[in-house]
Every structure is written in structure tokens, then in C-alpha cells.
Symmetry: C2
Subunit: 140 residues, 2 copies
DNA sequence: GTGCACCTTCCCATAATTGGAAGGTCAAGC
DNA sequence: GCTTGACCTTCCAATTATGGGAAGGTGCAC
């Protein structure tokens, strides 16, 4: 099948398939006489694997490692588990960062009247002079 | 003061200050006779504003808008509030995405033995054939 | 006057994806 | 046979925010 069909079947855009080939994530497969790339169902399967790993937020480098493990019948599941666990804790760290930001933002938004007047605790917070002397937010 | 001092005082690297100038986020200020950029405390204050907005995850475009509002004495606080609220809901959406990913990953990691054998529900999940016939995860 | 720390501009790299240009290929319909 | 449109090809560039580094100028201290 052509790249467009493989893209459709795998959920990976043709553009991305070519890119993954260029960076060596997937192997450069067969070409037809017209120089068109040719894919079979195993290629599509591999692209689906990539797609799902992307959906779980794995980086392309991590996916490369996952693919290597997937292809290796003698792999040890602990390798996969460690990779996934590292990724999970990375995600959890990012969630924690976002949680902190969301908390601050939420308090700021709540403390702002949001009317036609210029006074705004949000800008006060961003523009406060160094040193925590003033406390622009005090909504509890 | 020189750019290095302003960087130190504001928490924005000299590299980034030049970049922010290049993209018009901060105005191209005065230069000394030796062509060195010259900053005063108001410039540093503005950089601190940017720094704090960055810490809250605002994009440079959003910061540009925030700066414009900050400088405008006739602003309406509702404009700031709306901008911040939009950003907040964006953050919350990203958190939700991460939460979903973390949930799946967590179940997968838990379901994997993580030993020397090759069997791995994580790889099974990523490489499963389309259609939800098989259910590689069943840890409840 | 030599060295070191600072400054300048310019180019490049990252990560993942997309957009687009310029051109080749193929099948359908007239 | 020729056109049209939908494919495909490669290559270049933009995105976002930040950093690295080269090549060269400046200033101060010893």
C-alpha cells in the first residue's frame, strides 16, 4: 500500500511517517518502481505502536527504545517497566508543576474583580517588587 | 547597568533578554558609547514581570499582551482576568490530559511483572492489533 | 600590555509537527 | 490523446523557548 493508505490505517500522518523514516525510527522500506514507498500490514502495525506510544506521551527517543524492546524476543520485561516507570514519574512531576501553577492562577483569577476598572491583582502579582513584603493575594 | 547585571537582578538570562528585545517583547533601550546595552531599574522591573509570567506558564505572546495591559493605565481588569482565565483553563486541560495518560501508564506499569522474562503487558498494549477484542490490562 | 571578564552579532541546535513549493506518477473521463 | 485531480517525491522553512558557541570588540586590574 502507499504511504497515504498506511497513514490512514495507522493514524500517523504521511508527513510523520517520512520523518520517522528520516530519523531512523522506522526502517526505510521497499520502494515501487515509481519510487513510491510501499507498506505492508507489519509496517502499519509498527506505526500503530508508535502512534499509541506517542499518545501516552513517550518521546521519540523513548519510542525508539520501546520499539527495540518490542522487536527483541529476548527482552527482559523489567527494561520496559523501568522505561515506562521513568516516563510515568516524569508525567507526575509535570502534573505537579501544573498543579502549582493552576493553584496560583486560580487564586489570582478569583481575586480579580474583572470589571472596567484598571485595578488588577493579577498584574500586581506579576509586577510586584522583589521581596515578599506586600501580599497582593489574600483571598482565603 | 549592563545586561549581565540586569540578568542577575531579574532572573532572566542575558541571552533571553537579547532575544526578547529582538522579538519586540521589550523595547530596544539605550546603548552606551561602547554599544553595550544599558538598563535601569524600570527595565529590570519589567524583566521581573516577564520572568514571573513565564513561571506561571504564560506564552511569550500572552506575556506581550499582559505587558501591554500592565503599561496601560486605562486597561480594564476584565481583559487581564479573561487572559489569565483562558490560560488557566488551558493548564487545566493539559493536566487532564496528563491525568489520563498517568492513569493508563500507572495501570500498565502495575500490570507488568518487571522481571527477566520477555512477557510484557506494556508492549502488548502498545502493539495490540486494532479493535478492542483483547484486553491486555485487567488489574482491578 | 597582558589577561580576564564582559559585551556584541550571528549561526546553529533542540523536539515534534506542519506547511508549502516544485515536480513526478497514475488513473479516470472527455 | 489530453486534461484534471489526487496521489507521490524531495527539500526548505516555520513553529516555541531556550541555550551553545564562534569571532571579535571593550574595559579594568595587575
Amino acid at each position: 500500500m502507499q504511504i497515504g493508505t498506511a497513514a490512514e490505517a495507522s493514524g500517523v500522518s504521511a508527513k510523520m511517517i517520512r520523518h520517522y523514516e528520516a530519523i531512523g525510527l522506522v526502517t526505510s522500506g521497499a520502494r515501487r518502481t515509481n519510487n513510491y514507498r510501499d507498506y505492508d500490514c507489519r509496517d502499519v502495525h509498527e506505526l500503530q505502536f508508535i502512534r499509541r506510544a506517542r499518545d501516552l506521551g513517550f518521546s521519540l527517543q523513548e519510542i525508539k527504545n520501546l520499539l527495540d524492546l518490542w522487536r527483541d524476543d529476548t527482552r527482559q520485561s523489567t527494561s520496559v517497566r523501568e522505561l515506562a516507570a521513568r516516563h510515568l514519574s516524569d508525567i507526575e512531576r509535570r502534573m505537579e508543576d501544573l498543579r502549582a501553577i493552576a493553584g496560583t492562577l486560580s487564586r489570582l483569577v478569583d481575586s480579580c474583580e474583572g470589571d472596567t476598572r484598571p485595578d488588577c491583582p493579577i498584574l500586581d502579582h506579576l509586577g510586584r517588587r522583589a521581596g515578599k513584603a506586600r501580599r497582593p493575594i489574600d483571598v482565603e
